[in-house]
Symmetry: C2
Subunit: 267 residues, 2 copies
């Protein structure tokens, strides 16, 4: 089985040209088949302010209304995505920028309205929503897909979709075809025992330890869905999930020499 | 030799949701390998106004400064391109949206400064700037490339490039690999003998006739570079060039039953 490395970077990397370039250098140097999923960054917010698009908040949740959908399609699918692709090309990495609509890579369903109408937000049903055939053909052609956090509904509508989710669903979809490493890059060096201490990285995390940290409140609210996604991916056959800082991408990709390595094994 | 149909649509089609959908229906129904190149439309101008980006004009020419480059990368590469791709997907056409940076499809050179500095405008040197290998791999994989009028310099910078030029350079690059039909869709039903009379379409145009119309001023200024490009494409081995209205795409693609058929043959 060939290796496939799926890397997700968050908005913090996208927002800093210096960090982004450093990250892209390391990403370009990773061997084998690989795929990058990027978040949006603050640029959508600042661009939205300049356009006079007020964030539409309901119960503290941001709603993707029509204007916001246009905004994120422009900024994530155009500005951020093409900036990354052009820089990877300059680093001799044959990147191809995609949204879920392109080549029907990722199909999603507009989130059903229960108590809140999230607007044009797409939920990806599962691995069957991923067009692994075409993405594999791109790998075989020497291409490096760069995915924006956007999907489509198959009826002509783009949808806003969380980048963490896209990364984990892709990892699961490819688990039967490749030995998939899923690397989540975020602000911290890994999952921290003490949120105040950047060096208190938990080097190995299994479900029991995660449950313990969840109970004691050591895992921050933002990390919970990321870790839930990650353990789900391991249960579905993904080979390795590592969470860490973009500066240490190379080490994370090399047998998790940095960051937090998630595992299903009891410690 | 297999057929490849390259279609270029202008901003007038992009700007009208109704016309665009009608056009995309016809485009989706075209048989064989095909590729769409789209212009920008007025949406970049209106979006630029909302963002407070003043058009930077020098001697009546629009300059692509840094802000304008960001604007067109967002609008052409994101909003317009993904809107087209999502709609084609809904029409069961497996579209994949690309700029010249994606998969290194089209490399360009930033226009050298002579009297005017056009800013981030890319000139495509010739057919050798086109990555026909990867684009052919996409055709073989059943994909329909949809190209935004953007290229890159290979050094990490996106460039603004005329969509007519992209269409004709692509057609020339593929002329040795496929029997290429190049269809230019614009506002009029074809090249008109009398610009006031929409039905005075010149059904066949050869270089002698073009020269005659140029001398008498019958060809409008905007049409001159389009026709120069088109005759150049024929000289370089492109099988057929047809200029007409997007409503008649099907007929234009079927042995030029509508529009103006360009030919090198003396009449």
């Amino acid at each position: 089985m060939q290796d496939l490395t799926i890397v997700k970077i968050g908005g913090n990397v996208v927002d800093s040209p210096v960090e982004l370039l450093q990250f892209l250098r390391d990403f370009a140097a990773l061997p084998g088949f690989k795929l990058l999923v990027h978040g949006g960054g603050k640029i959508a917010t600042t661009m939205g302010q300049r356009l006079g698009i007020e964030p539409n908040m309901v119960d503290g949740r941001r709603i993707t209304d029509t204007e916001t959908l246009e905004l994120v399609t422009m900024v994530y699918g155009g500005l951020v995505n093409k900036n990354i692709v052009a820089q990877l090309q300059a680093l001799s990495s044959n990147a191809i920028g995609l949204t879920g609509a392109d080549a029907n890579c990722i199909r999603a369903t507009k989130r059903p309205v229960k108590t809140i109408d999230y607007g044009f937000v797409g939920d990806v049903a599962g691995a069957e929503a991923i067009n692994t055939t075409t993405l594999s053909a791109l790998f075989q052609a020497g291409l490096v897909p760069v995915l924006a956090p956007l999907t489509h509904d198959g009826q002509g509508i783009m949808l806003n979709t969380n980048a963490d989710t896209i990364a984990s669903v892709l990892a699961v979809a490819f688990a039967s075809l490749y030995r998939v490493k899923l690397l989540y890059c975020f602000e911290k060096k890994g999952v921290l025992l003490n949120p105040e201490d950047d060096d208190s990285v938990v080097r190995h995390l299994n479900p029991a330890k995660f449950e313990e940290m969840r109970m004691t409140g050591q895992v921050s609210k933002g990390m919970l869905p990321k870790l839930d996604n990650a353990f789900h991916a391991l249960q579905q056959g993904v080979y390795q999930v590592v969470i860490g800082q973009s500066h240490y991408l190379q080490e994370m990709a090399s047998d998790a020499q940095e960051g937090t390595l998630l595992s299903l094994q009891a410690s």
